[in-house]
Amino acid sequence: MSEFSYVLRDKVMSGPHIRSSVTSLAIMKQVMIALLFPTVAAVYFFGFKVLILIVISILIANLLEMSWHYFRKKSDQSNDLTATITGWLLALTLPVTVPVWILIVGNFLAILFIKELSGGIGYNLFNPAVYARVLLKLFFSDWITNWVSPGTDVVTTATPLETIGYFRTTLPLDFYSWTDLFFGFNLGGPVGETSKAALILAFLYLVFKKIINPWVPLLVIFSCFGTMFLYSGDFRFASAHVLSGALVFAAIFMVTDYTTTPYTDRGKYLFAIGCGVLTAILRIIIDLPGGIGVAILLMNLLTPIINRYTMTRIYGS
């Protein structure tokens, strides 16, 4: 016989005896690579300070999670990168002028309040980054809505969405040019959200790597566009809404979140449509941008119900 001998190490366990090579960690790494696209755009438009803010936010998020695990004696848990992603996402939804203490408060809400208090990864009902962002908006609006234009001089400006306003059906005459809206030139706003071009690259990357279902972001965008079109009857107006605000960013990075959205594809589609339609409605009736965040949280609440009604059909039933 050969020099190798066969010794069964573990107890005899049932199959399958092989596993796919994809790990959860690898998936998170892919998401991080996708986040590089809007990040590079953000640094290009708003300067290096953006990078510093992102790094600080990631550090805070990890620090909070690690101390929680230490405190709860879960110290054997290895880093699954989800805190990093949450911190990163949160930073991308804030303006370049954001004070560091806001990052601390935001990550505190996201990591401890939402994620860890619900039981850690996989258990939270709300999307941590979205939840933190919406609460920051609600309570600390003054510190996170001083939008600045790209460039060296810090000039406070409005975001495109603010210039459209609510209860309108047409665009203001001096509205932004389509190229500016698409690429993110001369736009104020949250650092990661202004360049749709960068976001589309991130989207393609995630789809190509099979991390997200392409229909989910597309349905968010189509349904928001459709609702706006029905409301205004104006193609340009509806298009402007798609290209303004956090819609595209959230559709790609937040509505596709695994944990807080339904299990089945059908459920995910319903969720996505709900987010798109609700965003449109909120933008029409409320004088605040950030509609998509609220829409996502509302839909997060519905996730268990959607799950119940979109169970898979069992073979032979």
């Binding site: 190798f4 069964l8 596993r19 690898a26 850690g120 089945t264 039933s317």
Partner: protein
């Protein structure tokens, strides 16, 4: 509700068949002895009809079927009965007969029988796809109108069914014609996986001439599972507890068809079979014809031994096969292959938390939500696990394979199933 269509999920996996696909099946050296279990089938163990010291030939009846659901067992070599013993196969203890090879290669043929069923029964043929259901019982008074021949070997590494098509197509067709004449099947369908189509192009014409439909199914795993095949071929579904016969369908594996050929036209009982010996830890991969009862150890030796430290030696394929505790176990009628994996190939990383990626749900071929069943089981909620359809699980392992968090979902579901069944038993009493 919103769930009208069942998506036959399934998963993509590394098939690892390229290397053995083209390998003609060969015979190895005769083993010095064989150990033949008296139960390689579903149903009652066969009753021994020989005693220690008896001289037997290849094909001599060693044990007789006991009751309807049982099968004859024949000697696979010529030699002397040296031992009547008991061995463990998996969790089961079964009687086994040891035969010492006399290398005289004497052969005993089957006696003539009047009906096809009797021939099949006399030859001890059981479903070679893995289930081991006595084949004559399957055909007994068959009134089905569809016969499905399963050659969609979807388990990675295994290529024996494919070798049968390549090497014995004529023989297979002859048997199918015979079965059609005997049982008046209206449709006979041979099922293969799509990726085999190109290299099996030569089968199209002969099949067409014989009026046998060729059905090509996707490359997803597990396309070869009975329930999935039925759905694919007939658009019908088997509800829980029903068998193919209820849908007027008879299903057989292609290797079984070849065994029938041997019995009917050559008067040979089922005493040997082709197995695929593969995996990255084996020195020379082979499709090997071996006498039933040959030890795994001997077979590995025939393939040049191990080339790497073997971490897992599996009876069958890596998805649904059984991990062998030792190499002394014999090859059974239902063994399709031996898969030897090194630790690189078979390492299972530690489990991390479920990230709700839904991969297990999208991949489940019978439309279950595996993670929810696993969760319910871990929370001790058996009723919920049952409600979620735990009993419908076909043990394919697609969910465990695909899970990025490496959660052993199937093992949870299996335990849930066995506890649910026990509970049902108790309630019946």
């Amino acid at each position: 509700m919103l769930n009208l269509k069942l998506r036959l999920g399934g998963i993509k996996l590394q098939k690892n068949k390229e290397e053995t696909n083209q390998l003609k099946s060969v015979e190895g050296d005769m083993p010095p002895s064989v150990l033949i279990p008296l139960s390689m089938h579903i149903g009652k163990e066969a009753k021994p009809v020989v005693k220690v010291g008896d001289q037997v030939k290849k094909g001599t009846l060693l044990a007789e079927r006991d009751g309807l659901i049982s099968a004859n067992i024949h000697s696979s070599i010529s030699g002397k009965v040296t031992q009547l013993t008991e061995i463990m196969i998996g969790q089961r203890q079964v009687k086994a007969i040891k035969i010492e090879n006399d290398y005289l290669n004497q052969l005993e043929l089957l006696a003539q029988e009047e009906t096809l069923e009797k021939v099949i029964a006399a030859a001890g043929i059981v479903g070679l796809g893995g289930a081991g259901f006595p084949t004559d019982v399957k055909f007994l008074g068959s009134t089905c109108d569809t016969l499905i021949i399963n050659a969609a070997e979807c388990e990675p590494f295994l290529t024996t069914d494919r070798r049968v098509i390549c090497e014995y197509l004529e023989e297979v067709i002859a048997v199918l014609n015979l079965l059609r004449d005997t049982y008046k099947y209206q449709h006979i369908t041979l099922v293969i996986e799509k990726h085999q189509l190109a290299s099996l192009a030569f089968i199209k014409e002969p099949l067409e001439q014989a009026n046998i439909t060729l059905k090509i199914v996707g490359n997803h795993y597990p396309q070869g599972a009975e329930k999935i095949l039925i759905k694919n071929v007939s658009q019908q579904e088997l509800t829980l507890g029903r068998i193919p016969k209820d849908l007027s369908i008879c299903l057989t594996n292609i290797s079984t068809i070849y065994a029938i050929y041997q019995a009917v036209y050559k008067q040979l009982p089922l005493t040997e079979r082709t197995i695929t010996v593969s995996g990255d830890a084996i020195a020379v991969k082979k499709n090997l014809r071996v006498p039933i009862g040959t030890s795994v150890e001997w077979i590995i030796e025939q393939c040049g031994g191990f080339s790497k430290q073997p971490e897992k030696v599996i009876m069958g394929g890596p998805m649904m096969g059984r991990l062998l505790p030792s190499l002394s176990e014999p090859i059974l009628k239902t063994t399709g292959g031996i898969t030897c994996l090194s630790s690189e190939e078979s390492l299972i990383p530690t489990e991390t938390s479920c990230i709700k990626c839904s991969e297990c749900i999208n991949g489940c071929p019978v439309g279950l939500m595996p993670i929810l069943i696993s969760k319910a089981y871990r929370e001790g909620n058996l009723a919920r696990a049952q409600e979620l359809g735990a009993l419908n699980c076909i043990d394919c392992g697609a969910c465990s394979y695909i899970c990025p968090s490496k959660i052993d979902i199937l093992s949870d579901i299996k335990q849930a199933k066995s506890e649910i069944l026990k509970k049902i038993e108790r309630e019946k009493k």
